[in-house]
């Protein structure tokens, strides 16, 4: 506790903020005393609201404390203030009876809790609850009336689809659990809540369908989440990096999505979803390689179209990983591989290029990545302009200036476009990280280097696990039944079984 306080002091450059000495600090029966303690602990924040009511002619006070903005003030009026003004509200008498009447009869809210501790009351206020204190009672009522600002269900920007739902997750966790309930109306759907982040105290929910997700998997996910020790969890990525397997691997071993239908499908397969408050991205575990090369559209189109899309995607994946490396290797070492006419054409185009082909490829790849990153970071209209200007003008001028050959420009552009076919951004990054390495291998050792690199990558991929599940399953270890949802998209009417995600099923 003192360490956190120390960090706070360092961060804010102020004196140590007043804070109850322990979580067990009891509330005083005197409202004035409690108000003073709360003001001292929470400071003079403009959004902190203290509202004193005195419906009691004997001078007994009621105190409402809440955060404006976090709490719906209209609901406060309807659920708390209006009932207090009702005829028959017990004025005078035993304050404990007043407190009990409020809790059991008068407050028109769904969730009303009681806490005897000051820390509990403060925690409640910070979690968008209204604390109601009654003079003479050393307890507080916590009424849940949240109104966190949210953007609602957004259309997923990173996972665009053609025929599926346009629903994306919201930044508010309660909306997200609700939307999952809408997709899976099964009583076995469970949401196990946690609070992670010593200061941010972010709500994290582990979602699974009891009986479908293996108990060992759910326990493992919870165990890893419980081990997360951070001051703040502001996005899914914070947790992702700490709970994932093989942290040094360039390949993602957790699946991040903002699509509720995708999460619902994963839950139905027996996987576990991890929802984090404040972000629309949800983690799915365990994740296997083939998941990163599928989209929901595969299932929303006919199985023939879905299969064609998948084959196209796998081919694009290979192109985005190896095309420049193969070109460099062919030009540098294996000219005989290139058809004779094409070889003559390339040689002619490369005349006057000052760089070796490997440097040319790496340089163009770098420029392409810079353009792509610029296009992403700039406002959309400007970003598009920069990308177009970069691609057309700079490329054209580079060719005319004799810095790069037109064939190389085509190779890198094709690779770049192919990389956009990879539907998951994190996997696209893995390919972009490995691509230059393969160019170097192809440019220094030829095809031998590329094949050695591929074998090394396969050893690495097969050694990866995601929450106990082999990353390359169902390809290796092979499971014939599940191959129906890998390179091809099997017809729904012929798919009778869900994939097995328990670790016990994938030994060997």
């Amino acid at each position: 506790m003192s360490r956190i306080a120390g960090k706070l002091r360092l961060m804010r450059g102020r004196r140590k903020p007043a804070r109850p000495t322990s979580t067990g600090d009891r509330l005083s029966p005197k409202v004035d005393r409690n108000e003073a303690l709360m003001r001292e602990t929470l400071g003079d924040s403009f959004d902190l609201t203290f509202r004193t009511l005195q419906p009691d002619q004997e001078g007994r006070r009621l105190l409402l404390v809440y955060l404006r903005g976090a709490v719906d003030e209209k609901l406060v009026a309807d659920a708390v203030l209006r009932p207090l003004g009702q005829s028959g509200f017990p004025v005078g008498g035993d304050p404990r009876a007043v407190f009990a009447s409020l809790r059991d009869r008068y407050l028109a809210a769904g969730t009303v809790e009681t806490t005897p501790s000051l820390q509990g009351a403060i925690d409640g206020i910070l979690l968008a609850k209204v604390a109601l204190l009654v003079d003479g009672v050393p307890e507080a009522l916590l009424i849940f009336l949240p109104a966190w600002p949210t953007r609602g269900l957004l259309e997923p920007e990173t996972e665009v689809n053609i025929r599926g739902s346009r629903d994306g997750f919201s930044t508010l966790i309660i909306d997200n659990t609700a939307v999952l309930r809408r997709y899976v109306k099964d009583p076995r759907l469970r949401f196990e809540r946690r609070e992670i982040g010593r200061l941010s105290r972010t709500k994290v929910v582990v979602a699974h369908i009891a009986g479908l997700a293996p108990d060992s998997l759910v326990a493992e996910a919870c165990r890893r989440l419980d081990k997360v020790k951070l001051d703040g969890v502001l996005a899914t990525a914070y947790i992702e990096e700490l709970i994932r397997d093989h942290r040094w691997s360039p390949f993602p071993t957790t699946f991040r999505t903002e699509r509720p239908d995708r999460v619902a499908a994963a839950l139905l397969e027996g996987r576990v979803a991890i929802l984090v408050d404040g972000t629309q991205f949800v983690l799915i575990v365990p994740a296997v390689l083939t998941m990163f090369l599928t989209t929901v559209d595969d299932w929303y189109e006919s199985f023939l179209v879905g299969t064609a899309l998948r084959i196209l995607r796998y081919a694009s994946f290979v192109v985005s990983l190896l095309f420049p490396a193969l070109y460099v290797s062919a030009i540098s070492f294996h000219q005989e591989m290139v058809p004779t006419r094409l070889a003559f054409g390339i040689t002619q185009q490369r005349q006057g290029i000052p760089f070796p082909v490997i440097v040319e490829a790496l340089l163009l790849q770098l420029i392409f990545e810079v353009l792509r990153e610029a296009g992403l970071r700039l406002p959309q209209a400007v970003g598009q302009a920069v990308t177009i200007v970069g691609a057309l003008i700079v490329g054209q001028q580079a060719v005319e200036a004799g810095l790069v050959s037109p064939v190389m420009l085509i190779v890198i552009a094709t690779t770049g476009i192919a990389s956009f076919v990879t539907p998951v951004y994190s996997m696209s990054w893995s390919v972009r990280l490995l691509n230059p390495l393969y160019i170097i291998l192809g440019g220094t050792l030829g095809l031998f280097g590329i094949v050695s690199g591929l074998v090394l990558m396969e050893v690495h991929l097969t050694a990866l696990n995601s929450f106990g599940l082999a990353y390359m399953s169902p390809l290796s270890p092979s499971r014939a039944e599940e191959l129906k949802d890998t390179f091809i998209r099997w017809p729904l009417w012929a798919s009778k079984r869900r994939p097995k995600v328990s670790r016990e099923d994938h030994q060997g």
Binding site: F333, M337, F448
Partner: protein, 375 residues
């Protein structure tokens, strides 16, 4: 987590089969055609096919002994039947044999690349890289080795088929005629080389403790399909080369490579050397990894170490050093694999191991039966 740790030691029958098949691709597509066509004879492919098929017998016997011994590896069985000292000696001998097989494979990669693709690159670069990648694969353990084998197998087998099928229009079946024209000696020579290559499958018995499930049926299936596949691969490769080149095949150093160079389809697909290069590199790395793993496992078992992972790296170094001394050039390498050198040596070592262990098993069974009667 415990289950995940245990899984590192497990390999399933399909993975072991893939691993063994992969280890044959190199010999089927490089050594055997090279060696058997040195003295041109139109029907060496028959000898090659029959020789491989004959390996079924010792492999079947070994499989029965291994299962009956409770799934022990070769060294484990030797120690059980002959005691720790004699069994340890067998372990050290087998370790050097597997190491030699691995080193020869590395040397082959070096010769292929420095001989016909990039002569300017020092051979040490290739041997170091092949050994390095193989060390990583072997050190990852039996399960990872098996899983990787399945992935590589799925890529390599279609390429092998393409290499043999695409030049069909360049083949002349007349070169294979007259049928059964050669005298028995030629067939026997080709058969002996092929037999000794296929018998290298005994390396698979080093993985026996990790094999799950490990019933007689599974083990029989693994080694029978392996021997049959090896026979088909070797016969097909030798027949393709002979059919494509005829008497000219005797003058080719790497006939399968030359075969791929002759591919020409519709004026678009031509000179597909990339196919055998990909084949050889990928399958050779896995083969070297298997041999290194087996050599390390032999030594670990001999000296009572928990597992041999830590030995894989030093053995990788040793194999690179060995590579430099085995032969000095490609012609010596091909000479090394003739029937009267490797054919005899490989056969004696491998069949000798099978005989030694099966005799030990019979003696041990007889002894225990006698003890039971006395009791």
């Amino acid at each position: 987590m415990e289950a995940a740790k245990r899984s590192v030691l497990v390999i399933n029958p399909f993975q072991l089969t893939a691993l063994l098949w992969l280890s044959r691709i190199e010999t089927a597509s490089v050594f055997l055609p090279s060696v058997t066509t040195v003295d041109y004879a139109p029907d060496t492919w028959i000898g090659a096919g029959i020789g491989s098929l004959l390996a079924i017998v010792p492999l079947w016997v070994m499989g029965r002994v291994a299962v009956a011994s409770g799934g022990l590896c070769l060294v484990g069985m030797a120690q059980k039947f002959y005691g720790r000292v004699l069994g340890g000696a067998v372990g050290i001998f087998l370790a050097q044999f597997f190491l030699l097989c691995g080193a020869c494979t590395i040397r082959h990669v070096v010769e292929v690349y420095t001989g016909i693709i990039t002569p300017e690159t020092p051979g040490l670069v290739y041997s170091a890289i092949v050994a390095g990648v193989a060390v990583v694969a072997a050190a990852a353990g039996a399960t990872i080795l098996g899983r990787t084998a399945v992935m590589v197998f799925a890529t390599v087998v279609p390429l092998l088929l393409l290499t043999l099928i695409l030049p069909l229009n360049r083949m002349n079946p007349g070169h294979l005629m007259p049928f059964m024209h050669s005298h028995l000696g030629v067939l026997a020579q080709a058969g002996l080389i092929s037999f000794s290559f296929t018998m290298q499958g005994i390396v698979g018995f080093m993985l026996m403790p990790s094999l799950r499930p490990r019933t007689t049926k599974e083990v029989d299936a693994i080694f029978l399909t392996y021997a049959v596949a090896s026979s088909i691969m070797m016969a097909a490769a030798a027949a393709s080369i002979t059919a494509a080149f005829g008497p000219l095949s005797a003058s080719l150093t790497f006939p399968v490579f030359s075969l791929a160079q002759r591919i020409q389809i519709a004026g678009i697909i031509e000179r597909m050397e990339i196919l055998p290069v990909f084949l050889w590199t990928a399958s050779d790395i896995l083969r070297v990894a298997l041999m290194l793993w087996a050599a390390a496992a032999c030594l670990a078992k001999t000296f009572g170490l928990e597992h041999g992972r830590r030995l894989v790296l030093p053995l990788g170094f040793v194999s690179v050093v060995l590579t430099a001394f085995i032969v000095t050039n490609v012609f010596e390498m091909l000479g090394f694999y003739t029937w009267d050198l490797w054919g005899v040596y490989g056969t004696v070592v491998q069949v000798g191991t099978v005989l030694l262990l099966s005799t030990g098993y019979l003696l041990a069974r007889k002894g225990s039966a006698r003890r039971r009667r006395h009791a």
